[in-house]
């Protein structure tokens, strides 16, 4: 069907005459797939992500979730932990019988190894969440350093108002881009200086705090100014540029000109490389809910291993910690408190459609 709006409308109008025909509710197909056992919760979560995917990396990540990557991981951890717990419990409930002394052997190693594997997922989940939610790159520099001009160049349109009057930009302006498959928001903000009026002062404050929270800061400087003089410390991975390179012909920093476009490709490449490195270790845990649950499980198992290492007379507490880890894993896949998990997932479909 050749799909102009008018054609689609006409076809839909014809279809609506069929008795029983109606529009699907938001998330209805996913809900039905869940009800018919074709999908599990984290897979449904992946479908939500897929609907919202803007870039290739987001799509790949969502597909992994839909494919059950997280559910498989949780199931593998679960079976290791259940086996460890069974040994601990045997030591408690059959204390009076002649258990072989090796019953507790290997439990400590399992607990430590699982805790570390979980920690790796937690560590990689920040990057995964970034892929899902997008990175932020803050443009920071003194007033009239060419930040808005650079932003407009990146956007390919006049997203920000520019003028040669210093302090033109007061609010934070965002432009969303796809850099090598990764979603990136560039933030244009007020130039950093001791401002004269109260409104500009607030703008500068906001610029500093947003810059600090951003994943990468791009400093727009003149080749000689120390970036730290802006009151925002450069961090590893940040980019220091020599802005207005069409005018400022020498000095330190990556030459970039928003006006002519010179050096912009180099800047994007450098940002793309840095972010690419950061997402290399991304785990399948791409939601804050996943990270919280896995982090709690990891911590519980670390405690369990510590208690066990202190001697075998508090194994009931080791069991408590393993149970806590299991409950966290259960929460991850929706075995407990499933209603809140469902609510969270479906609230996203309603917005999405």
């Amino acid at each position: 069907m050749h799909g102009s709006i008018a054609v689609c409308e006409a076809v839909l109008a014809a279809l609506r005459d069929i008795p029983g025909f109606r529009d699907a509710e938001p998330g209805e197909f996913t809900r039905r797939a869940l009800m018919n056992g074709k999908l599990d919760l984290s897979e449904a979560e992946g479908i939500g992500d897929l609907l919202e995917a803007e870039t290739a990396a987001q799509r790949r990540q969502a597909i992994a979730l839909v494919g059950g990557a997280l559910g498989d991981l949780a199931e593998a951890w679960r079976s290791d932990l259940v086996a460890a717990l069974a040994k601990i419990e045997a030591g408690i409930d059959f204390a009076d019988e002649d258990l072989p002394p090796e019953v507790l052997s290997g439990v400590g190693a399992t607990l430590t190894a699982t805790s570390l594997a979980m920690k790796a997922q937690v560590d990689g989940s920040r990057a995964a969440e970034r892929i899902r939610e997008g990175f932020e790159v803050a443009l920071i520099g003194p007033p009239n350093a060419g930040k808005s001009t650079l932003l407009n160049r990146l956007a390919g349109r006049d997203a920000a108002l520019t003028s040669d009057v210093p302090g033109t930009t007061r609010d934070v302006i965002e432009v969303r881009m796809d850099i090598e498959g990764l979603p990136v928001s560039f933030l244009d903000m007020a130039g950093i200086r001791d401002a004269a009026d109260r409104i500009e002062t607030l703008g500068v404050e906001r610029a500093r705090s947003r810059a600090e929270l951003a994943d990468i800061r791009v400093f727009l400087l003149d080749g000689v100014t120390d970036p730290a003089s802006l009151g925002v410390e450069p961090m590893p991975g940040d980019v220091i540029t020599r802005s207005k390179a069409d005018i400022v012909r020498s000095g330190a920093g990556l030459p970039v000109s928003g006006l002519t476009g010179a050096g912009v490709d180099n800047l994007l490449e450098s940002i793309g490389k840095e972010l690419g490195g950061r997402v290399a270790g991304a785990s399948v845990a791409s939601h804050a809910r996943h990270r919280t649950a896995i982090a709690e499980a990891s911590e519980a198992l670390r405690h369990a291993a510590d208690i066990l290492a202190n001697g075998g007379d508090q194994t009931e507490l080791v069991a408590v910690e393993i149970m806590r880890a299991l409950r966290s894993i259960d929460f991850l896949v929706g075995r407990v408190d499933i209603e809140s998990v469902l609510g969270e997932i479906f609230s996203r479909f309603c917005i999405g459609k």
Binding site: R31, M35, G37, I92, F94, A95, G334, R335, D337, I338
Partner: protein, 618 residues
């Protein structure tokens, strides 16, 4: 025979029946205990011991509700041992070897002192009226009418005893099986299954060479089974420990074909954790030795119970393998061991009052529900008796929750998951193990018992005295707050964060626990050691309990999600066949209960919830 009417009739005089009938009597109901043999009331038909890990917890809970088991065991205890003494308080289970005669006498005295009518008769049928049970029918055709009936028939339903190739119908050795009653239960549409259990041969103590055996003495400081007991009432004795050896195993292996258990006939499933010696030898073939505890059956008898070698081999083979063990080379068998197979009712036909869902007024308790063990039976009997009484009084039923008691855990497990082998209590079955301790069973349950009227005045007074002393001492302990520096002066190292901590928070870090800490403050002069010990047990788990309370919130939210009874599990295409059948049978009332159904997966739980939500919308 004159027809008497009672509020409640309890059928069976074992551990479940006795607790049921006494609980109903304490509630002021008119009750009758109908048993095949009055002399069999209170008999310990298996090993001569009460309590243990998990089981001792249940005994304390029964005691907290003023049941008889703990007190009777203390009257008969000839060897006290607190199991898991070196581990944390939540895992410790009090256990006692009991003199069989003394135990039975204690139970019979308790029944005699109560207002229970005891009737020696064989119940062959139930008097069923439309919609409810109306009494029992005896072998001579006589009918006894009542509002409620509690069946505690143990292994008697279609019981068959196996010894070697011989099989005969029986309840216990020397008792007749209840075949007609089994048929009646089957006719009521209650699903029946088959289980088996075994006993070892009984030995003559004088023929055992005790000097050749390791002795296991009683604890120096006995931990009693009843909260009301203050001192040991019998002379304490030691048990012996013997060991099987490769020669023992050879004899067993060579004779496996002489027992029906390894032939085609018995269909019953035996417990994995209390296996017969034949099972042990076959399944753990690489183990060259198993422990055998030689437990004296009493102070005035020569009988010895060799715990660990239950068997259904022929009598001559039993004698042959027993004599291969060191210390038993001249042992004589007084009564050979045997295996028994019996019918049980799938407990998923019951609700959490232990009432039969399809027949109001009928309650089942004990081995008939697929459990094993005196303590498990007694706990169910108590609960069934209370609920039968509540029904007669048109009072709310007594439901024990999983976070409240081991009895609650057991009943929820039974009615939700059913059984696949004889059900025995383990502490690992309790998610709230740290809270469900043997030492605080009274704190957990006696208030409920007082509220419902099943706790007598004597226990009320002693419980309230204990709680008031405990409360006072806890208040003092909470009021004394030390800085990290002051704590360090007393030898307790905590983080130097400037935070003042009270004595309860500090106790787990102090060598010697709360008692030694309290010893350094005059405020605790005159406080009984038992009170100090109790605060110590409370303090050990406090940080964990606070966190667990938060975790439990998540679980409780699931308990709050009601599942409509109209939910059609058959019509849920995403469910596996197995789960469809299970859920259809159990009809869980909450999402939490559904989550505990065996084999439940997260995906299945999700779709049950979604269907429930949809059912609500329609």
């Amino acid at each position: 025979m004159k027809h008497q009417d009672y509020d409640i009739i309890v059928v069976g005089g074992g551990h479940a029946g006795v607790e049921a009938v006494l609980a109903a009597a304490r509630m002021g109901r008119s009750v009758a205990l109908v048993t095949q043999r009055i002399i069999g009331i209170g008999v310990m038909s298996c090993n001569p011991a009460i309590g243990g890990i998990g089981k001792g917890h249940i005994v304390r809970e029964i005691d907290a509700l003023d049941g008889i088991m703990g007190r009777a065991a203390d009257e008969a205890a000839i060897q006290y041992r607190l199991l898991n003494r070196s581990k944390g308080p939540a895992t410790q289970g009090p256990r006692a070897q009991a003199d069989r005669d003394l135990y039975r006498n204690a139970i019979r005295m308790a029944v005699a002192r109560s207002d229970v009518s005891v009737i020696e008769a064989d119940v062959v049928d139930l008097d069923v009226r439309p919609g409810e049970v109306a009494g029992v029918i005896l072998r001579d055709g006589a009918v006894i009418r009542s509002r409620c009936v509690v069946l505690t028939t143990g292994t008697f339903l279609n019981g068959v005893i196996h010894m070697g190739k011989e099989s005969r119908s029986a309840g216990r050795v020397g008792d007749v099986a209840s075949i007609a009653l089994a048929r009646r239960i089957s006719d009521l549409g209650l699903p029946l299954g088959r289980l088996k259990t075994g006993t070892p041969p009984r030995l003559a103590g004088r023929t055992i060479d005790w000097r050749a055996l390791e002795a296991q003495p009683a604890d120096d400081a006995p931990e009693f089974l009843s909260f009301a007991t203050e001192r040991a009432q019998c002379r304490q004795v030691s048990c012996g420990i013997a060991h099987t050896n490769p020669a023992t195993h050879d004899v067993i292996r060579e004779n496996l074909d002489k027992t029906v258990s390894y032939g085609a006939s018995p269909s019953g499933v035996g417990p994995r954790y209390c296996p017969s010696i034949e099972d042990k030898v076959v399944r753990f073939a690489d183990k060259s030795s198993h422990q055998v505890f030689l437990e004296p059956e009493g102070l005035s008898t020569d009988l010895v119970y060799p715990n660990g070698i239950s068997t259904s081999l022929p009598a001559d083979v039993q004698l042959e393998y027993v004599r291969t063990m060191d210390g038993l080379s001249r042992a004589e068998i007084v009564q050979p061991g045997y295996a028994i197979e019996y019918d049980y009712v799938d407990p998923r036909a019951l609700d959490r009052t232990l009432g039969v869902k399809s027949l109001p007024g009928l309650y089942l308790a004990g081995q008939i529900n697929g459990t094993t063990g005196y303590e498990e039976a007694a706990g169910q009997g108590l609960l069934a008796g209370l609920n039968a009484a509540c029904r007669c009084m048109e009072d709310d039923p007594v439901i024990l929750e999983r976070f409240q008691s081991y009895i609650g855990v057991m009943v929820d497990d039974l009615v939700t998951k059913g059984v696949t082998e004889p059900y025995r209590m383990f502490t690992s079955r309790a998610e709230y193990r740290l809270e469900l301790r043997a030492d605080n069973a009274d704190q957990r349950l006696t208030p409920l018992g007082l509220d419902r009227g099943c706790v007598g005045s004597e226990r009320k007074v002693s419980f309230e005295r204990k709680m008031s002393r405990l409360g006072t001492a806890m208040a003092i302990a909470s009021d004394i707050r030390l800085t990290p520096g002051q704590a360090a002066e007393m030898g307790i190292s905590v983080t130097r964060d400037g935070v003042r901590r009270n004595l309860i928070d500090l106790a787990p870090h102090a060598t010697g626990g709360f008692a030694s800490l309290a010893g350094q403050f005059v405020q605790f002069e005159g406080v009984e050691p038992s009170i100090l010990a109790q605060i110590d047990r409370e303090s050990v788990y406090r940080p964990y309990l606070e966190r667990q309370a938060k975790d439990a919130e998540r679980l409780r939210r699931d308990e709050g999600v009601a599942l409509p009874s109209s939910l059609d599990y058959e019509a849920m295409p995403g469910l596996s066949n197995e789960l469809r059948v299970k859920l259809g049978k159990i009809r869980p009332s909450t999402l939490g209960q559904a989550g505990r159904v065996e084999g439940m997966t997260p995906a299945a739980l999700t779709l049950v919830l979604l269907h429930a939500r949809q059912a609500e919308r329609v």
